[in-house]
């Protein structure tokens, strides 16, 4: 009898721990946890100074009052970041005229210290980015870059061949300047759909 009680008690508490550890079987990865945490509790962003492909300085706070889409890239990347760029390109193309630059702004932020203005410009041109609406930016200050990546929950690890592994996603910042949703960048229709509900 005592054996049975012990086993049942252990089964219940073990299942409880695993339930809590996966937020109710919703997330098993840190990436999933990051997304869920942001939806539960939107985050304000640090006022970090960025420089875009024209060399113009700006902050993410400058876009308050408009929807802001943010993604993290490095321009030498030929895999993930290319598909991130393609997603923004498609969003820019499919949004109704006059929306982009007013109700919606986009920023691609490079985390690669090797990326300079020319690289950013070239990346923008590759995807037909209109610099007024879609900024390709870098963070000059190393500590500020770290702070920004931390706030967004981006983990970047360099590999042996001069590339980076990083978590890729589209980040939504609401009109009040809070990061409040993170979704997969693929397919782009998902980004458009989510954006649609916010216009």
């Amino acid at each position: 009898m005592r054996g049975a009680i012990t086993i049942v008690a252990l089964l219940i508490s073990g299942a409880g721990v695993l339930w809590a550890a996966t937020d109710g079987l919703q997330v098993i990865t840190a990436e999933g946890a990051r997304r869920l945490a942001i939806e539960d509790k939107p985050k304000p962003l640090p006022a970090v100074l960025l420089t875009d492909q024209r060399g113009e300085a700006f902050r993410l706070q400058d876009f308050q009052g408009s929807n802001l889409l943010v993604e993290f890239i490095y321009t030498r990347c030929v895999t993930l970041c290319t598909s991130l760029g393609e997603t923004f390109e498609e969003v820019a193309r499919k949004l109704p005229d006059g929306t982009l630059g007013h109700q919606v702004h986009m920023v691609s932020i490079s985390f690669d210290p090797r990326d300079h203005m020319d690289d950013l410009k070239e990346y923008g041109e590759r995807f037909d980015a209109e610099p007024d609406h879609w900024r390709i930016a870098r963070v000059e200050n190393h500590d500020e870059l770290k702070l920004l990546l931390n706030t967004f929950g981006i983990t970047v690890i360099p590999d042996r061949w001069g590339n980076f592994e990083h978590n890729a996603a589209v980040h939504f910042v609401d009109r009040q300047g809070y990061l409040d949703k993170i979704i997969d960048h693929d397919p782009p229709s998902k980004t458009l759909e989510t954006l649609w509900k916010r216009l």
Partner: protein, 201 residues
């Protein structure tokens, strides 16, 4: 009187052994906690999952055999409750999110060093000798199939499950897990065909 002396001597002897095992277990944990050792074993997914964590569990196993082998036994019928605790703790540390947390947050790293010996190694060390051969066989059979499934998942998964490790490491881990499953299976096939069987069992 003489019988009592004999008993005392036996207890003493096993007491010495127990101390030795506990000491080995504790030194192993200390060794694994050294910064250089941690850096080496946490740099790759394979070393983290298949070397560091199993060694921490082994350290717990030694401590369990040394210190607690006679404790809790009225609550550990046939070793099943202890096995359950160890299984749940193993499942927890197999969730990619918490493995990531151990790498990015010091608190969870400390938790790993405490809970793996305490909740995996010690309960297993106490319970394994009390488990019936049938229960042990079930554990081995499940370990083989779980390793294959996990390994295959890691090889086939197109997404990176750990933010702290590269995808190619995930793949390497997958293949290693499957190789390990194969090795365990081969060992048991060897035992089945060529091992000595005690009729009494």
């Amino acid at each position: 009187m003489e019988a009592a002396m004999m008993l005392m001597r036996r207890v003493n002897l096993s007491y010495g052994q127990a101390c030795l095992k506990t000491a080995i277990g504790i030194s192993l944990i200390t060794l694994l906690a050294l910064p250089a050792c941690r850096a080496l074993l946490e740099s790759s997914l394979i070393n983290h999952m298949l070397v560091q964590i199993p060694l921490l569990a082994l350290a717990g196993w030694m401590i369990g055999k040394g210190m607690f082998s006679s404790l809790f036994q009225e609550w550990n019928e046939r070793g099943i409750p202890g096995l359950l605790i160890a299984l749940f703790a193993m499942l927890f540390w197999m969730i990619p999110r918490w493995l990531d947390a151990a790498l990015s947050e010091p608190l969870w790293e400390v938790m790993k060093f405490i809970t793996v010996p305490l909740l995996i190694g010690i309960p297993l060390g106490i319970s394994w000798p009390r488990m019936s051969p049938f229960s042990r066989a079930v554990v081995w059979a499940n370990a083989i199939s779980m390793l294959v499934v996990i390994g295959w998942l890691y090889v086939a998964a197109p997404v990176r499950v750990c933010n702290n490790y590269l995808v190619n490491q995930q793949e390497a881990f997958g293949y290693t897990a499957m190789m390990l499953a194969l090795a365990i299976a081969a060992y048991w096939i060897g035992v089945v065909f060529f091992g000595k069987w005690d009729k009494a069992e």
